[in-house]
Symmetry: C2
Subunit: 103 residues, 2 copies
Amino acid sequence: MRVRNAMEILVEEALDNYWQQLELPCKCEICKTDVYAITLNTLPPRYVSNENGYAYVRAQNFNDQARLKMLDAIVKATGIVAVRPSHEITHPIDPSESNSKEV
Amino acid sequence: MRVRNAMEILVEEALDNYWQQLELPCKCEICKTDVYAITLNTLPPRYVSNENGYAYVRAQNFNDQARLKMLDAIVKATGIVAVRPSHEITHPIDPSESNSKEV
């Protein structure tokens, strides 16, 4: 059975857009994926089983309130991962450093 | 970023187990997928980013209360699809009929 949580696509797009501006001691793929998973766990799922369903959910989430809710969830998830990353951090990024290590 | 809602796997297993016993005018793949999507939309998502995470969620959902909650969501979703299928039903299944048309 093919279903998809439309929020997975919308959150991934938003996370990619804002990733540069988000403050974390480590910005590796693991930390980014953890932010992604925690964000999705805090937003109501919107499973759809076809393209029409997806287009409907995307349109519904195009208003400022929905986008603010998504960004709020991303920032909160970022705070959780920043405080408790799921892997040991050998050399945290110094905010003044260049962002060469980022994904 | 690879994440998965662990509930997708758990609900799919439960839906396959109970599908024979669920009463719907049509038991095609579309109706089953609609029941699946609606069920997932009513249960809190449990996104994980690795196998350990998935094993943890599976274990958490192994108790009676969690399984009852999942079955309750499936039965409610079945009721919604039974009343309002997403496609026209040309010849609804007569419950006394053999279940030859089922998936």
